[in-house]
């Protein structure tokens, strides 16, 4: 299992050819109280960098971008029912969706956990 991050503050946890995607601790803190989240439809093909999900806090809307390309194989229904999960457990129970990776080499362009934490701490 490997964990990667993007400069747009998504995280990707890879197990086999399945990638679970969410937003980082840093991102949920910046957004504040999250009141709405919408994951993509299962079966949708997303390309790396494409808008895949929506997250809204009391104050602002934000897009969640697909960190890698693939087919959506699962959406987290729990965050639709309880968006605050993204605040309380952004890198665990507050995940957004799972992808079947179509090009694992795309992961090479992402940050590892250490690099992301160092980089985001300076923002």
């Amino acid at each position: 299992m490997s964990l990667y991050f993007t400069k747009e503050h998504e995280w990707v946890r890879v197990e086999g050819d399945t990638a679970t995607v969410g937003i980082s601790q840093h991102a949920q803190q910046a957004l504040g109280d999250i009141v709405f989240a919408e994951a993509p439809q299962v079966g949708r093909q997303v390309r790396k960098g494409e808008e895949a999900a929506v997250v809204e806090s009391v104050k602002a809307a934000s897009d969640v971008y697909a960190p890698v390309s693939g087919e959506v194989v699962e959406a987290n229904g729990a965050i639709a029912d309880e968006p605050a999960l993204i605040n309380t457990d952004p890198e665990g129970e507050g995940w957004f969706f799972k992808l079947k990776l179509s090009d694992p080499s795309e992961l090479d362009g992402l940050m590892d956990e250490g690099a992301y934490r160092d980089w985001s701490a300076k923002l």
Binding site: G32, D33, V35, F36, V58, K59, P83
Partner: protein
């Protein structure tokens, strides 16, 4: 104005208390401390301390000051008693809203609070239009707002006598030995006070207020959601120079005498709109589902034509659902009217809702003229 972000008297105080500072109206201002939702709900049940020192505090004086101001403001100022305040509008010659403000009779003159982002323009406009008056910009003063149902309990301990004020009444008080001008007013829909005091004493007074466990510091984020629930328009969003007080649904600010006599900027157009109705009107709306529909979203008819625009939108922490304000064609302004909103290509079902969304909690009892 420059691009530099200026600091206000409580800047350090906010940072020390965990305030997340953002540029607003040219100043660094706290958007939140512990979180907008918690701060919002705290104000609705206890007392919240807001720093609104970015707003412009003016002292306007001169011979015939009330008659002169009435040429630009459509409100009743001549009959306004000492220490009484009114919500009013600064109008341009076309009847458009240059700013919204609070005007208080203070002895021989008027103490006026205007929006932070518009204050320099307001001052220039007032000086140009009313050259016989003296417009003093009280730049060295800070402005605090203590809002919520427990605000009166907190403030009465520090400034004995404030409990005797009713909504829209003001007076001079002493807080910990600091001279303060305090009005029972605010912009959250709750009972509360606005406290004008020397900037040099702001930290000391803010600290004295916060020492009461009923009080928490509240950022501008919750101020925005509170005023939205209260149905109160925000200048630069729900109000601007293109809309009249009639379109903005603020006709309560034009009293009977002014409607009969006219004599204010843009009166011809405004009085005609009062008789015949405006083309568009500001309304409140509630959105189905949980996703907020925000400023800039379009109101569309069944053919997809734009029939209005959302000017404020967000999530109501008190009601736990998305609400907002929009300008819509007058024919669509009745509460209960179904609306379709379009945001980033997605359609939302909404319904025109009576405002305020959350009932006002002002203390009017015992009010005297």
């Amino acid at each position: 104005m420059t691009d530099d972000v200026l600091t206000l008297p409580l800047d350090r105080w906010h940072r020390e208390r965990g305030g997340r500072m953002v540029p607003f109206a040219g100043y660094g201002m706290p958007v939140q401390y512990e979180g907008i939702m918690a701060e919002h709900l705290w104000v609705r049940q206890s007392a919240g301390l807001f720093d609104v020192s970015h707003m412009g505090q003016l002292l306007i004086s001169g011979d015939g000051v009330d008659a002169a101001l009435e040429t630009l403001l459509p409100g009743e100022l001549k009959a306004l008693g000492d220490g009484r305040l009114r919500y009013s509008l600064l109008l341009n010659d076309a009847g458009g809203i240059v700013d919204d403000l609070m005007a208080t009779r203070q002895g021989e003159g008027f103490y006026v609070v205007v929006n932070g982002a518009t204050k320099h323009g307001d001052i220039a406009y007032l000086r140009e239009k009313l050259p016989s008056l003296t417009i003093d910009y009280l730049e060295e003063r800070a402005l605090l707002a203590l809002q919520g149902p427990k605000a009166v309990d907190v403030l009465e301990k520090l400034a004995p006598g404030v409990a005797g004020l009713v909504f829209m009444q003001a007076g001079r008080f002493s807080i910990n030995g600091v001279d303060a001008w305090i009005s029972r007013s605010g912009y959250t829909g709750e009972d509360g006070f606005e406290i004008s005091l020397p900037g040099t004493s702001a930290e000391e007074v803010a600290e004295a207020l916060l020492a009461d466990p009923l009080v928490k510091p509240i950022g501008l984020g919750a101020r925005d959601s509170l005023r939205l629930e209260a149905g109160l328009p925000l200048y630069g969003h729900d109000l601007d120079e293109r809309v009249t007080p009639v379109a903005a649904d603020l006709t309560f600010a034009i009293n009977k005498r002014r409607r009969e006599e006219g004599g204010f900027a843009g009166a011809e157009r405004i009085l005609a709109e009062l008789r015949g109705g405006p083309v568009q009107r500001r309304v409140g709306f509630a959105v189905e589902g949980r996703q907020p529909v925000r400023e800039g979203a379009r109101v569309i008819d069944s053919e997809g034509n734009e029939v209005g625009k959302v000017t404020s939108g967000g999530f109501s922490p008190s009601l736990s659902k998305p609400i907002g304000m929009a300008y819509v064609a007058a024919g669509l302004s009745e509460p209960g009217t179904r609306l379709t909103l379009e945001q980033r290509g997605k359609l939302f079902a909404a319904e025109v809702a009576a405002m305020p969304f959350v009932p006002h909690n002002y203390v009017r009892k015992g009010a005297q003229k």
